[in-house]
Symmetry: C7
Subunit: 102 residues, 7 copies
């Protein structure tokens, strides 16, 4: 049975993120060659762990929620493949910013 992304439960303060893919076509529909596609450091939060443990053994609530759009650091994170799709696990404190939609 293939692993589904909804079955992945990040541990501690880890956050599962799906990186937003770079635009493959211009707005007028012309295909952008792969090399010219800009790597995007934005993603959507797909799953959130319970949080790191404080010294009393309680979980510290993470700063983000499922569905949040976030800015990702240029380095770090563990990439995992689920059904051929690539996802990233970051620690909550590594995420740079939330992006709110108006």
């Amino acid at each position: 049975m293939a692993t589904k992304v909804r079955n992945i439960v990040p541990l501690l303060d880890r956050v599962l993120v799906q990186r937003i893919k770079a635009q493959e076509k211009t707005s007028s529909g012309i295909l952008i060659p792969e090399k010219a596609q800009e790597a995007l450091n934005e993603g959507y939060v797909v799953a959130v762990g319970k949080g790191a443990l404080n010294k009393d053994g309680a979980h510290i609530a993470p700063q983000v929620n499922v569905g949040d759009k976030v800015l990702l650091p240029a380095y770090g994170g563990s990439n995992v493949k689920v059904n051929g799709e690539e996802y990233f696990l970051f620690r909550d404190s590594e995420l740079l910013a939330k992006v709110t939609e108006e």
Copy 2:
């Protein structure tokens, strides 16, 4: 007497993991040459230590249980051979995520 895996008791926050082997045949039964087999960073928890010590000397309960399917980090872990089988000891906090079966 050969060491059996059920005789291994991880110390502190260590977790004994059996890595899931990469598929050696395609779904239609054709043998995949070893180089083309994708390394899988998934495994099953075989044994769990009592947990790291907090500053009061009590064990911090680990985040995983025997039988859990887990995502493993790309680096780290100590490999041990038990009866010719390879296992890995990770610290509880190094495991990335649990994979739940539906």
Copy 3:
């Protein structure tokens, strides 16, 4: 929909900064070639996170506010692009000094 800078909410003790661009012309209007433009380590605070967490889980109030002019360290910070404009995310404690206007 393009991300707008007012939609970026820095996480924890991160501060979003717009670096002040180096002068492109001399005071008499002569264009300064790009190589001769001095890199400026000054910027304006555009957005401020709630602050890092102390050990009781409360946010530590950052030292700067939106609109503050700040001196930036020569190294560090994550650069992010928003609508083609470059911004920088620094941790509050990395900012060197505030610059007050008289």
Copy 4:
């Protein structure tokens, strides 16, 4: 007077371990050349220190006892020679797992 192993009292959280030697003959008695002998990361605990100090100055009881069979990390440990025999001093927290006999 030569130092005897029973005279060695490990300090703090150090544990004196005698590494189990690799098999020098096959089960049918044929000699295995030294290079083909597999290095074993197993040993027996020969002596145990009182434990590291917690912040109140009390010893933290080690996780292993004299006579325990343990899995050793691939790196680390200080080797000491006692009467020509090689022993290893590990910190209690470096030992990977206990191996229980059935």
Copy 5:
């Protein structure tokens, strides 16, 4: 409007220092070539931050005051240019010693 040094407010435990320039002439008035001028690790404190935060969130009072003459470490510090003059920002704890005038 040009930044003036009196407008710079160091953040946290940072201290703004103006390094004392090496002597450019001998006592008899002969010009010393720049290479022969000895770099001086002394300076005057120009501005002082409120101090680093302790774990209760209060500022720890810095060890120096504006006007103090101080010995500077050989390495470290961030240099900033204000109106073409070079200044240095050190952390309070990096300063080696105060120099009192008799």
Copy 6:
């Protein structure tokens, strides 16, 4: 006046150790050339500091006493010469084990 070893008072958790010299002759009296002499990681404790400071400013009593025979780590320690004799200063916690005489 030459410094005498009994005049050296180690500071904090430092321990002054005289390394036991390797045997220069075989038991039958034949001289062992210097290169064949095995370096010994054993020594006698010659002086002991009051101990490192705990967070309340009290000294933590060291684990060894003057006259103790100790096993030394392969690396670390500061060597000092007193009257042409070489001694070593280790931190109390760097010493591996005590060797008790029967």
Copy 7:
């Protein structure tokens, strides 16, 4: 006005030390060439800071006093020149031992 050594007030846990110069002549008065002079890791304490801060903001009393003869580590320390004389600033905890005179 030239800085005098009695005007230097070390900050926090820093200690100003004057290194004892190596002997320049043999006891019979023959000059020792500079290369043959042995570097001495001994010095006299010339000034002592108030001590590092503990977490309550109080100074931790240093382990040495002005006039103490001390053993210096082979590495570390900041050298400062006062009136052409070289001095060294060490942190109190870097000093290895006091040397008492009989």
